[in-house]
């Protein structure tokens, strides 16, 4: 994928991930206050926003839960890696399965109260899944661009 597309992808992911910390941005940019319920509603479409599972910072709470935050950080960090090095996937989905299994196990075990919900574990398993998911998203976008350019 040409560098311009990689930059666009990175910027979009950066904007989305920054929006998660909307409450913290309010301290610097108070005019954003008008859009707070709007942003809260936007993130509610992709996360349950359980107050017990969101990240609490001194400047405010994140707008998504720890696991979703991990997924978006995973996507963002891999988009940074792709500036310097394009990781090629072998189009085999074993990697996705390996990445999603720890997340599913954590969800099942915490829901069944076998152990308590841990934000650190949720972020880590989410990050693993997000960073692998990026490879397939990237591959899909790359093929989409090639298909579109052919026509």
């Amino acid at each position: 994928m040409i560098i311009q597309f990689r930059i666009i992808l990175f910027v979009l992911l950066l904007l989305w991930t920054s929006g998660i910390f909307y409450q913290c941005l309010l301290e610097k940019f108070s005019f954003l206050l008008y859009g707070y319920p709007f942003a809260y509603n936007a993130y509610s479409l992709v996360c349950h926003q359980d107050p017990a599972k969101v990240i609490n910072l001194s400047c405010g709470n994140s707008l998504v839960c720890s696991r979703c935050l991990g997924i978006y950080f995973g996507l963002l960090s891999n988009s940074i890696v792709h500036f310097f090095y394009e990781i090629r996937t072998n189009k085999n989905f074993t990697l996705v399965l390996i990445a999603i299994i720890p997340m599913i196990i954590d969800v099942i075990l915490t829901t069944a109260s076998i152990y308590n919900y841990s934000k650190a574990v949720a972020i880590t398993t989410g990050f693993l899944f997000g960073s692998i998911l990026f490879l397939y998203l990237y591959n899909g976008l790359q093929n989409l661009i090639i298909e579109t350019a052919k026509r």
């Binding site: 108070s30 206050l33 319920p37 509603n41 936007a42 992709v46 998203l137 579109t148």
Partner: protein, 171 residues
């Protein structure tokens, strides 16, 4: 329309699940991407060919699934708000006021923002409808669900193509 009937079916399902709190807490961010994947599977079953799904088709089916999910999600949300005269904005108002009071902002801005939110809340509590709220969820649902739907379509198409590859390899 007929071309995207699978998107319509799974988009409708995703729209319904958007307003079911328990389903939402379990599936989290996966509702619309999964709906896109299901739409691709349904489409493949309706048109059984050995051809791989192109990424363009995957993205289009994902986009339409997201748009249908947005349409039905918005309609259900507005209908429930109209009937119950209550929604997230109304229930988050006390917390919002508390948060605004702690922010280091001018008194004018604080009053202006609180008045704006209170107008929305009063409209919802009185009439079950607020134009500003309706516009905000229409825009949010359309943009977010479309993007998430496209992502689901792109990844889902690769999953289905991989399965097709495996099946063709064994034959």
């Amino acid at each position: 329309m007929k071309k995207y009937i699978s998107s319509f079916v799974s988009g409708f399902g995703a729209g319904v699940l958007h307003v079911v709190p328990v389903a939402k807490s379990i599936s989290c961010c996966l509702i619309v991407p999964l709906a896109s994947f299901i739409a691709l599977v349904l489409d493949k079953k309706a048109n059984p060919t050995a051809d791989k799904i192109t990424m363009k088709k995957g993205a289009l089916i994902g986009l339409f699934t997201g748009l249908y999910a947005a349409l039905f999600g918005t309609l259900f949300d507005l209908f429930i708000t109209l009937v119950t005269k209550n929604n997230d904005i109304v229930s988050m108002m006390p917390e919002l006021q508390k948060m605004i009071s702690t922010l280091p902002i001018s008194e004018t801005l604080r009053t202006e923002v609180i008045n704006l939110y209170e107008n929305v809340r009063n409209d919802i509590m009185q009439y079950g409808f607020s134009l500003l709220y309706a516009l905000s969820i229409i825009i949010n649902n359309t943009v977010v669900n479309s993007v998430v739907g496209i992502i689901g379509g792109l990844v889902g198409a690769q999953v289905i193509n991989q399965r097709l590859n495996n099946r063709n390899g064994y034959q």
